[in-house]
Symmetry: C2
Subunit: 253 residues, 2 copies
Amino acid sequence: MRILVTNDDGIMAPGLLALRRALMELGDVTVVAPTTPQSAVGHAITLTDPVRVHRVSLGDGTVGWAVEGSPADCVKMALYELMPERPDLVASGINLGANVGINVLYSGTVAAAIEAAFIGLPAMSVSIEPAETVDFDGAARIARRLIDQTIARDPSRPALLNVNVPDLSKGPPKGVKVVPQSLKGWRESWERRTHPRGGTYYWMVGEMRTEEEGAETDVAALADRYVTVTPLRFDLTDHGRLDDVRGWGLRLD
Amino acid sequence: MRILVTNDDGIMAPGLLALRRALMELGDVTVVAPTTPQSAVGHAITLTDPVRVHRVSLGDGTVGWAVEGSPADCVKMALYELMPERPDLVASGINLGANVGINVLYSGTVAAAIEAAFIGLPAMSVSIEPAETVDFDGAARIARRLIDQTIARDPSRPALLNVNVPDLSKGPPKGVKVVPQSLKGWRESWERRTHPRGGTYYWMVGEMRTEEEGAETDVAALADRYVTVTPLRFDLTDHGRLDDVRGWGLRLD
């Protein structure tokens, strides 16, 4: 099996190496990741700037590719330029920080998986909650275990799965829950500060809204210490509303 | 009516002013747009850098706000910091270049509208095909006409509409078509070049795949010279697959 591993935390991120290590047991792993951290870049691609690629030694001595671009750029670069053959799977992560709720829209980690799925490949994004000591290897082993169980399923419909792992330093997860993305937003605002040399700047501050008890979402299940699995789609059309809007009889005159 | 106008082509873009002009007839318009062009940034937000905001004179002498950030940052800055009251509508555009097919995923113009919708506001993204002479005012008048017909509909379910306008220099559009996003990707590759001082860099090159005749998608309808309207959603869960994946019995042990 040929596996492409990428991320949005950048080529130096420990989560990337942990994922690479865990997936080496499944086949040939190619690492193609952004040169610099790209958190919250969403599904950015680099259209108007040149993109440079560097062959680099990773922290564990193996070779990888650093791309001066976004996670989605990395997937395109791997597929169309760097990998001699199409991978059988694209894995993105292990991201430091959960990608649940609205974060799914902002996440470069998830965007890399969506990019791969759009091209027709099975893909999984994997993120773990922040902690004082983050167990990336534990999260990578969970990813590997889930890949074992998903890759063989229905090859005519490649899986696009978003996986989130709770803080493992608090003990093992309670299990796996397959749940939808929460549609609650952040409780957010801008924190206004004054620069030492004058002038105002802002920091975005926000925290995920907690779900009501019993809600079956990624936010709720992760808070309850389950590994969450959410099947994603990249068709943004609101199909349920097409006929509704057609009935509006929109006109230009 | 209070209207927020933003874009991803930046505060200096002519399409922004055209949209502002056309929507002034509907109410109070506040312009908050990125300092620099942000095409294809997708749903990026600025979490790890400070964000600065500048009060600026626009090309037509009115006042606007330039935000050193992404289109989604602009929406958050407008709502939580700059506008004393919530807007009744967020309009994003007029983008130079169609946002149909996979471009819907990459587009900062669309991401701004999605951000607004996630917060619960009616939102519309508007884009026009490139041309030698781009009729932004014509596209803005079309946007205004569509807003007239959509805003009043079902306030309990705020509309999130992605609108694309064909090249108007070739004559008026044939009409309006309500169509889903095409799921065809680009035919894409990397063009490899050598820098004058040595070293390799790449340009992303790609063109939208054309649809089969008769296909009812945004790509096909726009090519057929219709104004396209696509209702979007921001729930990325593949709900049709939740039960399927639940049936896989995923386990950690």
